[in-house]
Amino acid sequence: MEHTSLLERILRGVALTLVVIFFMFPIVWIFMMSFQTNETILRIPPQLIFEPTLANYTALITGKLMTAAGTLDIAFMRNLGNSVFLSVTSVAVSLLLGVPAAYAFARHKFRGSEDIAFTLLSFKFAPALLVLLPLTLYFQKLGLANTYIGLIWVYQLICLPLILWIVRGYFEDIPADIEYAYRIGGHSWFATFRKIALPLAGPGIAAAGLLAFIFAWNNFVFALVLASADKQPVTVGALAFITSSGIQYGQISAAIVLSITPTLALALYAQRYLVEGLSLGAVKG
């Protein structure tokens, strides 16, 4: 351990606490809001002590939203399902397409390879709203509007460049000789890719996949325009809580808690795995 003075330790503690409070406050506040009714939430001044209620969660899970104006049907659980399905499938498709492409870009320099790789990256430069209008027109002509296939396709704009560029870097970090050693030992090109390159780039592929998943999960605008209610992910579905009789803060909070739980859990789980994988990865040495 580093030798530090008492004052230094106290100051560091204070600084860390401030940072944690700053970043955790919104999440903690939303978490608390999710256990309150609209009345207690909107009380002024806000109070830390309240009687917790599970009504928000029950409403979300049963799909029946009680408002002053009457009962409203909400499709939150379906939205959550859509989010999971869209994100998982998009990332899976992206990995399937992106990892071999990344390998090709990393290992084989061919005429125009840099240009193609850059073009793929440039998809990320275009503002989503700019792309959306023509895309919607085309998709309506093609019959892809409001289909899962259409959405997953559009989600490739988010996931594919990310995976391609991150994984490419990992492949480039693997010394080519390690693959040559495997190939000269009597193995085909494909076996080398599968047995040497993929495992060695594993942590990078996992990191890229996770990042792509989070981006896909958080996407709002593509799904808003291209999907109707039954195919919407949670990000768009949460709009349903802005009702004619007011904004349902309690339900929104509960919905947020439920919808960040999968990504949070995944990130926490994968974080451990990623750190382990990266430090064990004996590629360098």
């Binding site: 000789d177 390690i178 190939r183 000269i184 030992g185 009597g186 040497i196 495992p199 004996a282």
Partner: protein, 374 residues
């Protein structure tokens, strides 16, 4: 009639487009017999590693042909060439132990386990890595990784074993021991090996023949002795040998029936006409300017020699290296006794014509070595 293990004919390597890219290997032609050990010797960037990688199949051959065991391979994938290789960067598989790394190719070839174990044990003993067989590459030293990588190549049965700087990371004592053992191992099994090195001691100790390369061009391909005694050109002459050969430009003249090799600073090496053999003398006298080369071991101090002035004097424990200002340059001589000479001390040196290497001034090609024409 010895079978040919490797034939390289007219091979060019360009990085980038042919005829416009970087020309790394130029019109290389070599023939290596089965059972030979050949060293590719040269400084960094001379094309030796490119050559090795073309043989292995990791680099395309831009022009020309390569045949392994009389089988054209230059368009085949590495896996089909039946060559084994030890890589300069070791390139061990990180998730496998040293034992698994070494046994890998044998297992892939479906050898019985008992045979694999026996082979690994014998190679491990040869390379002194028995105690680290169960460890992972990331937990062993560079030298150990290098030996594991060497073991992984030597354990295989292949038409050709390619060794890229196989002992660069080893400590000197171990290197000397392993050199002997590896040579014995290769010879005993009748393997053919090509090693790439920039260490001439290693090349001399291991190789039957040395291919000296520079600037992508094969300078000379001959036995270690002949390379040392009969360097084909100025490059080989100065590149091989430690300390390097002394070279001076000289004007050829005659006076009073003697041949004068006039050096800068008004110095002159004078020899009787009869000191040279007739063909060498004719060659010398037909030229105006030549470059002469003298090995440091061949320079003698003598009373009536040409004057020089000591500029450095190093006792290396078994020999003395004396550098002297001479003819506008520096002359190095080696003596086996400890010599007490102060800096600036005047000495006189003489050079026996038998030890004189003469090179063409323009092309650098050798003209004569001692009494014989090149």
């Amino acid at each position: 009639m010895s079978q040919s293990a490797l034939t390289i004919s007219g091979v060019d390597k360009f990085y980038g487009p042919i005829d416009r890219g970087v020309h790394a290997v130029k019109n290389l032609t070599m023939d290596i017999a089965k059972g030979e050990i050949v060293a590719l010797l040269g400084s960094s960037g001379c094309g030796k590693t490119s050559t090795l990688r073309m043989i292995a199949g990791f680099e395309d051959v831009s022009r020309g042909e390569i045949a392994v065991a009389d089988r054209k391979v230059h368009t085949l994938a590495p896996v089909k060439r039946n060559v084994a290789m030890a890589f300069e960067g070791y390139s061990l598989y990180p998730p496998l132990t040293v034992r698994e790394n070494m046994a890998f190719a044998l297992k892939a070839a479906r050898l019985p386990k008992s045979e694999v174990d026996a082979k690994v044990a014998s190679i491990a003993k040869l390379l002194e890595i028995e105690d680290i067989l169960e460890r992972y590459p990331s937990s062993i030293s560079g030298g150990q990784q290098q030996r594991a990588s060497l073991g992984r190549a030597l354990i295989r049965e292949a038409d050709l074993h390619l060794l890229d700087e196989p002992m660069g990371q080893l400590e000197p004592q171990l290197r000397a021991v392993l050199r002997g053992r590896i040579k014995h191992f290769i010879k005993e099994r009748g393997l053919t090996a090509i090693l790439v090195t920039h260490d001439q001691t290693e090349a001399n100790a291991l190789a039957d023949r040395i291919a000296v390369m520079e600037g992508g061009v094969l300078q000379q391909f001959d036995t270690p002795d002949r390379i040392k005694e009969r360097p084909a050109n100025l490059f080989t002459g100065t590149f091989v040998g430690e300390p390097p050969m002394n070279v001076f430009e000289a004007y050829v003249g005659t006076s009073a029936g003697r041949i004068n090799l006039r050096l800068p600073d008004g110095l002159s090496l004078d020899y009787d006409k009869d000191a040279f053999s007739a063909p060498v003398r004719d060659q010398l006298l037909s030229r105006e300017r030549v470059v002469i080369g003298i090995r440091p071991y061949a320079v003698r101090r003598s009373k009536e020699g040409v004057p020089a002035r000591v500029s450095a004097n190093q006792w290396l424990g078994d020999q003395t290296h004396i550098a002297a200002d001479f003819a506008g340059g520096s002359l190095v001589l080696v003596e086996h006794d400890r010599t007490r000479l102060d800096l600036g001390a005047p000495i006189n040196v003489s050079i026996d014509p038998k030890n004189l290497h003469v090179f063409d001034q323009a092309s650098g090609e050798a003209i004569s070595h001692g009494m014989e024409l090149a």
